[in-house]
Point group: C2
Chain length 103, copies 2
């Protein structure tokens, strides 16, 4: 399984960010081809590290090829452009793609 | 489900970090009470954000109470002390606890 993790720092305008994220971004991203699971986490609690986190999202695909196909699709490109809008409220967004290895 | 995420930046001594992580830390953490799943990810690919990431770990529990009991247990405290050793090689470790909400 391959996961795309996004860490959103506290937005400059919480109300506008929330509205755009849940009313525009989520409906777009949920239609990405091959997406197996999409979870968000409100009020994440930082244990270590300097950067506060407001919202997290994790999107799962079966494998790296499926994720790449989703990101390269027209809908993937539209979702990426929409993520640029979210970055207007959260300039220090962190996002990472990683493959899960079960221990 | 509740998840504990750890992001390890590139360690100052990769060999010593790897040896300690996989030979000491993982066997300790795998025994934490109530742990449902423990995955690691080598070579995570950063999409956005300034901080490079060397290794990621995600540990899952059924709920926040189960995670809190695990962290408060003698083994949880031993694992936390051991994480301080890992922080010697990776001072800028980020870790976050969050509850998953399926979309």
């Amino acid at each position: 399984m391959v996961r795309f993790l996004v860490l959103y720092p506290p937005p400059t305008d919480v109300e506008a960010f929330e509205k755009h994220y849940f009313e525009v971004h989520v409906p777009l991203a949920k239609r990405l081809p091959g997406l197996r699971r999409y979870t968000v986490s409100r009020n994440p609690a930082r244990v270590r590290g300097p950067q506060p986190c407001y919202l997290m999202a994790e999107l799962d695909w079966d494998d790296m090829d499926s994720l790449r196909r989703a990101f390269a699709s027209p809908l993937g490109q539209e979702t990426a452009r929409d993520a640029d809008k979210l970055a207007g409220w959260c300039p220090a967004i962190q996002s990472i793609i990683f493959e899960l290895e079960e221990l």
